[in-house]
C-alpha cells in the first residue's frame, strides 16, 4: 500500500528492547485495590456501592454520568472497604474520589456476566451500547469513552476504521506484546467495531520495529476481506491520530476537527481487545496490559494488571529498582506524566510505568534559544515553537494563539530536539492552561452579567406588576365609590363616572 509522508517528527532511541518480547504476565491479586472514579475523559462516575458491601468481579460499582463518561466495575471479587479520597495517578498528586476494594482472593465473576454467541448478529447500536456498559475507554492513553466514538457513524459519513498499533512512544511494548499474543482477539474486536461504525475497511497500522506483531496480525487478518495490515515507518509521533490517518490515507484532518470529518475513526489495539472481551464474554474492562520498564527497573516486564493496583505492587513484581530512578513516569517518555508517589493506582489509561535513570532523561539546564530552527523542522503540525515560546514568555497569549498554539498537540518533538534544552511543552501547556482559565473567567463574567441583567429585569417586572395591581385596586375602589355615589344621587349626570375612569387610566 502506498503511504504518504507527514512533516516533521523525530527519531528517538526506542529502547523497546528492555521489555519487548517478554510474555504478558498476570500480576497476582494485590491486597487492596484503589479504584478512582475519574479514569476517563468526561464526567466523573457516580458510585453505586456502599462500605462493607460485597461485590463480585465485573459488578458495576459506579455508573456513568452524562453523555461522555464511563461506568466502572469491580476488578475482582471482594469487599468495599472505603469510599473516599485517595491520591490520584496525576502529577498534581491531588486526591480524587476512589473506591477501595479488599479482594477476597477468589476472583469470582459476577453471575450475570455472559457473552454473546454471535455478536456480529447484533445491531450496530447494540454493540456500542455493550461497549459503553463494559466501561471501555481508549486504552492508548487518551481514555475517551470508546462507545461515543463507535456512535460517530450516525453523524459522519465514515469509510475506514484504523487500528493504531504504531506504539511510537519509546520504551512501551504493551500493545506490541498484546498484538503478538492476542492478534486474533484484536482482529475480532476490530471487526466488531467496524460493524458498530458501519464501515467495511479496516487498516492496521503497525510500526516496522514490531515485526512479530506485524506477522501475527497479518496472519490473523488473512481470512478477512477489507482488512489490511500496513507496515508504518518508524517516526515519532506516528501514533498521533491525525498524523497516522494522513500517513495511511494522504488526507489531512481540518484544524480543530476530528478524523471522522474525513471519514476515519481510530482505535487502539488494546481497546479492540477490550471490545472483544466485552462482546464475546460480557466481561467489562477491569484489567489492562502495562509495560513496566526503564533503565532503573531491575526486571522490565509486560504485566496484565487489575485496575486499581498500586504502582508500588507493579514495581515490586519487577524486582524493584536497579538504581534510584531520576524520574518515574506514567505513559511513554515523550508525553507521559510524572507519578507523584508510588502508592497511586493503575488506571484504565495507564499504558506504561517508566523508571528512568538520569542518563536516560538527558536533562540539562535550559540555555538561551539560538534560533536554530530544529523545533520548526521537528514540529509535525507546522508550527514555529520558538516564536510561540517567545510570545508566551512575553505574556502575549493572543499572539501565541494566532501563531497556532491551539494546533499544538503537545507531542514534545520540539523540546526533544532543542539544543538549548528549553522546556517548550511546559511553556505551551502553561499557556493553554492560562487560556482555559481566562476562558472560564470570561464565561463566569458573562454568566454573572446575564444573571444580573435577568435579575434587574425580574425586579423591574415585579415592580411593574405591583404598580399595575395597585392601579387596578385603586380603579376598582374608585368605581366602587362612584357606584356608591351614583346610588346615593340617582338621576345625577351620567358623564361623571366615565370622566373619573379616564382620569385613573391616564395616571
Amino acid at each position: 500500500m502506498r503511504l504518504f509522508t507527514i512533516r516533521g517528527g523525530v527519531h528517538p532511541e526506542d529502547r523497546k528492547a528492555l521489555s519487548a518480547g517478554r510474555p504478558i504476565e498476570v500480576l497476582p491479586i494485590p491486597k487492596l485495590l484503589h479504584i478512582p472514579l475519574q479514569q476517563h475523559i468526561g464526567a466523573i462516575a457516580n458510585p453505586l456501592v456502599q462500605r462493607r458491601q460485597y461485590v463480585a468481579k465485573g459488578e458495576r460499582i459506579a455508573h456513568a454520568q452524562g453523555a461522555v463518561s464511563a461506568p466502572i466495575h469491580a476488578p475482582t471479587s471482594g469487599r468495599i472497604v472505603g469510599l473516599g479520597l485517595y491520591p490520584a495517578n496525576h502529577p498534581s498528586g491531588l486526591s480524587v474520589r476512589t473506591i477501595t476494594l479488599q479482594p477476597d482472593g477468589k476472583d469470582r465473576w459476577h453471575k450475570r456476566i455472559e457473552g454473546v454467541a454471535d455478536p456480529f448478529a447484533l445491531e450496530p447500536a447494540e454493540i456500542a451500547q455493550r461497549v459503553a456498559d463494559a466501561g471501555v475507554v481508549g486504552l492508548g492513553g487518551a481514555t475517551f469513552p470508546s462507545a461515543v466514538k463507535l456512535g460517530l457513524g450516525k453523524r459522519y459519513a465514515l469509510s475506514t476504521l484504523v487500528i493504531n498499533g504504531s506504539e511510537c512512544e519509546p520504551y512501551l511494548t504493551c500493545d506490541d506484546q498484546l498484538m503478538r499474543e492476542q492478534a486474533e482477539a484484536i482482529v475480532d474486536g476490530a471487526r466488531l467495531m467496524a460493524r458498530a461504525l458501519g464501515v467495511e475497511r479496516i487498516l492496521f497500522g503497525i510500526e516496522g520495529n514490531k515485526p512479530e506483531a506485524l506477522a501475527a496480525v497479518q496472519q490473523a487478518t488473512a481470512a478477512f476481506d477489507g482488512v489490511e495490515v500496513v507496515r508504518l515507518p518508524m517516526r515519532y509521533p506516528m501514533g498521533s491520530e491525525k498524523h497516522l490517518v494522513q500517513t495511511l490515507t494522504g488526507k489531512e484532518t481540518p484544524a480543530r476537527g476530528l478524523t471522522a470529518d474525513i471519514g476515519v475513526v481510530v482505535h487502539n489495539p488494546a481497546t479492540a481487545f477490550a471490545v472483544y472481551e466485552a462482546l464475546r464474554f460480557g466481561q467489562p474492562l477491569v484489567s489492562r496490559v502495562i509495560s513496566v520498564t526503564g533503565g532503573a527497573i531491575s526486571a522490565p516486564k509486560n504485566l496484565r494488571v487489575l485496575i486499581g493496583t498500586k504502582i508500588e505492587d507493579l514495581v515490586e513484581h519487577c524486582s524493584r529498582f536497579r538504581e534510584e530512578p531520576a524520574r518515574l513516569i506514567a505513559g511513554g517518555p515523550m508525553m507521559g506524566q510524572p507519578i507523584p508517589e508510588l502508592r497511586v493506582p493503575v488506571m484504565k489509561g495507564t499504558n506504561g510505568i517508566l523508571a528512568l535513570t538520569a542518563a536516560e532523561t538527558g536533562r540539562r539546564e535550559p540555555a538561551p534559544c539560538i534560533r536554530c530552527g530544529s523545533c520548526v523542522q521537528a514540529c509535525p503540525c507546522g508550527l514555529l515553537p520558538l516564536a510561540m515560546a517567545a510570545q508566551v514568555r512575553a505574556g502575549d497569549l493572543d499572539a501565541a494563539v494566532s501563531s497556532g498554539l491551539m494546533d499544538c498537540i503537545g507531542c514534545g518533538s520540539c523540546a526533544y530536539v532543542c539544543p538549548a534544552h528549553l522546556p517548550l511543552v511546559q511553556c505551551f501547556n502553561h499557556a493553554k492552561g492560562e487560556l482555559a482559565a481566562r476562558g472560564r473567567a470570561k464565561q463566569k463574567q458573562t454568566e454573572t452579567k446575564r444573571l444580573a441583567e435577568h435579575r434587574a429585569q425580574r425586579l423591574e417586572a415585579q415592580k411593574r406588576a405591583k404598580r399595575e395591581a395597585m392601579a387596578k385596586r385603586k380603579r376598582e375602589a374608585d368605581l366602587k365609590k362612584q357606584a356608591e355615589a351614583a346610588a346615593d344621587s340617582e338621576g345625577a349626570a351620567a358623564s361623571t363616572p366615565a370622566a373619573a375612569v379616564e382620569e385613573v387610566e391616564t395616571c
Binding site: R7, V10, P12, P91, G93, A157, P170, E252, T253, P254, A255, G257, D261, G263, E324, P325, R327, L328, I329, P333, M334, M335, G336, P338, P340, E341, L342, L356, E360, G362, R363, R364, E365, A367, I370, R371, C372, G373, S374, V376, Q377, C379, P380, C381, G382, L383, L384, A387, G404, D407, G412, A415, Y416, V417, C418, P419, A420, P423, V425, Q426
Partner: protein, 365 residues
C-alpha cells in the same frame, strides 16, 4: 523515596546541546585552520591566538557588566567560535590590534549589546569584519603568499612578533600582495582578457588544497568542504543553506561566464576562491541570524550567494561575502515573518481546511 517532581514531558532528550554544536563546528574548522596556521606561520598563529583570547576576554567582561554568571555562557563555546571565525577571515599577517578591535566589535557591539547569545540580529564575526574592512582598509587588504613554517626564509617567532606589533615592514612587506579575487579585479580594470589571464591568476588546484594568498582560513577549499560535509553528516547544519548559497553563486556566475568569458570569471573561481565555502558552510549557517523555516533558509542562502557574486563582479570590493551576509541577516526577520510553514489542518492563510462534502467549509459540531 522520590520527591514529587513536577517536570513536563518529554522525559527523554536527543543527545544535543549548544556546547556540542559549537564544539563540532570548531572541530570541523580545525583542518582548514591548522593548514592556514602552518601556511602562514608564526604571525598568523599570534593573530589567531590574540583574536580568540580577546573574544573570550570581551565576553567575560560583558557578562560581568551585565551581572550574569560567567560559567555557562563563557564555556558554551559561542564566544570562542565567533573569535575563531573572525580570525579565519582576517589577512594572516594583520597586526595584533586588528584581532583585538575585531573581537571587541564582534562580541560587544555585534552580540552582547543585543542581549547575548541568541539575541543578535547580525552575525557578530561578519559585523567585525566589515567594521575592520571599512575602518582599516590598508591592514585588511595586505595578503601574503604562503610562507610555511619550518622553512629558512619564513619568519620565526621573533619576526612574527615584530610583524604583529609593528605591521608589515621591510623586508616582509615585499611578500604581500592582493588576493586572487583582488588580482582578478585588477586584471579586469587593466583591460586584460580574463580568459587568457585566468590560468596564471587562478590555479584551481591551489585553491582546492591551499597555497594561495588569501585570508587565514579560506585558502583550502577542500578542507572547508570536508568540514562542511562533516557538519552535515553530524546533523549540526542542514543542507538547505549551504546548497542555496553555492547555487546562488554558481548559477549567475555560469550564466554570465557563458555570455562573455573575457569579462566574467567562471563558477569555479567564485566557488573555490575567497570566502564562498567558509560562508556557505560555517557563516551563513549561523543559527541565530538565519531564518528558521526551510523555505526561508533557501531564500536566505540564495540571496547570500547572489549578493556575493554581484558584489564581487560589479561592486567596489573584490570580496563581498561579509556584506552579503549582513544584508541577508537584516532580511531574516522579514523572511521569517512571510515564509512560515503551513499549519497542519490549515491552509496557508491559517484558515481551517474545508471538510469534504461540506460546501460552506465551516462545519459546526
Amino acid at each position: 523515596m522520590l520527591a514529587p517532581t513536577l517536570v513536563a514531558s518529554p522525559h527523554a532528550h536527543a543527545p544535543v546541546s549548544i556546547e556540542r554544536t559549537m564544539r563540532l563546528v570548531m572541530l570541523a574548522l580545525l583542518p582548514a585552520t591548522l593548514l592556514g596556521l602552518w601556511q602562514f606561520g608564526w604571525p598568523a598563529i599570534v593573530l589567531f591566538a590574540v583574536t580568540l583570547g580577546a573574544a573570550l576576554l570581551f565576553e567575560a567582561l560583558a557578562l560581568l557588566l551585565a551581572g550574569k554568571p560567567l560559567k555557562p555562557s563563557l564555556l558554551d563555546g559561542s564566544a570562542l567560535l565567533t573569535g575563531w571565525l573572525l580570525a579565519l577571515t582576517l589577512p594572516p599577517w594583520a597586526p595584533w590590534w586588528i584581532g583585538v578591535v575585531g573581537a571587541f566589535v564582534a562580541i560587544i557591539v555585534g552580540k552582547q549589546v543585543f542581549g547575548g547569545l541568541g539575541q543578535n540580529l547580525f552575525n557578530p564575526a561578519m559585523v567585525a569584519r566589515v567594521v575592520l574592512l571599512v575602518s582599516f582598509p590598508l591592514e585588511m587588504t595586505q595578503w601574503v603568499g604562503p610562507q610555511p613554517l619550518f622553512f629558512a626564509q619564513t619568519p620565526g617567532l621573533g619576526d612574527a612578533l615584530t610583524i604583529s606589533l609593528d605591521g608589515l615592514s621591510a623586508p616582509w612587506d615585499a611578500m604581500s600582495g592582493a588576493s586572487i579575487l583582488g588580482q582578478v579585479d585588477l586584471a579586469l580594470q587593466q583591460g586584460s582578457d580574463l580568459g587568457a589571464a585566468m590560468p596564471t591568476l587562478f590555479p584551481p588546484l591551489g585553491a582546492l588544497f591551499g597555497g594561495i594568498p588569501g585570508s587565514l582560513g579560506e585558502t583550502s577549499a577542500l578542507l572547508l568542504l570536508l568540514g562542511g560535509l562533516f557538519l552535515l553528516r553530524k546533523g549540526v547544519i542542514d543542507w538547505v543553506i549551504p546548497v542555496a548559497v553555492l547555487l546562488g553563486v554558481a548559477v549567475p556566475a555560469s550564466l554570465l561566464h557563458l555570455l562573455d568569458p573575457t569579462r566574467f570569471a567562471g563558477p569555479l573561481l567564485h566557488l573555490l576562491a575567497g570566502a564562498t565555502l567558509l560562508t556557505a558552510f560555517f557563516i551563513a549557517t549561523d543559527p541565530v541570524t538565519s531564518p528558521v523555516s526551510r523555505l526561508g533558509q533557501a531564500v536566505f542562502g540564495a540571496g547570500i550567494g547572489l549578493l556575493i557574486y554581484l558584489i564581487r563582479t560589479f561592486g567596489a570590493y573584490p570580496e563581498g561575502a561579509a556584506f552579503a551576509i549582513l544584508l541577508m541577516n537584516a532580511a531574516t526577520p522579514m523572511v521569517d515573518h512571510y515564509l512560515k510553514p503551513r499549519i497542519f489542518g490549515r491552509d496557508r492563510r491559517g484558515q481551517a481546511l474545508p471538510v469534504a462534502g461540506d460546501a460552506a467549509g465551516e462545519r459546526k459540531r
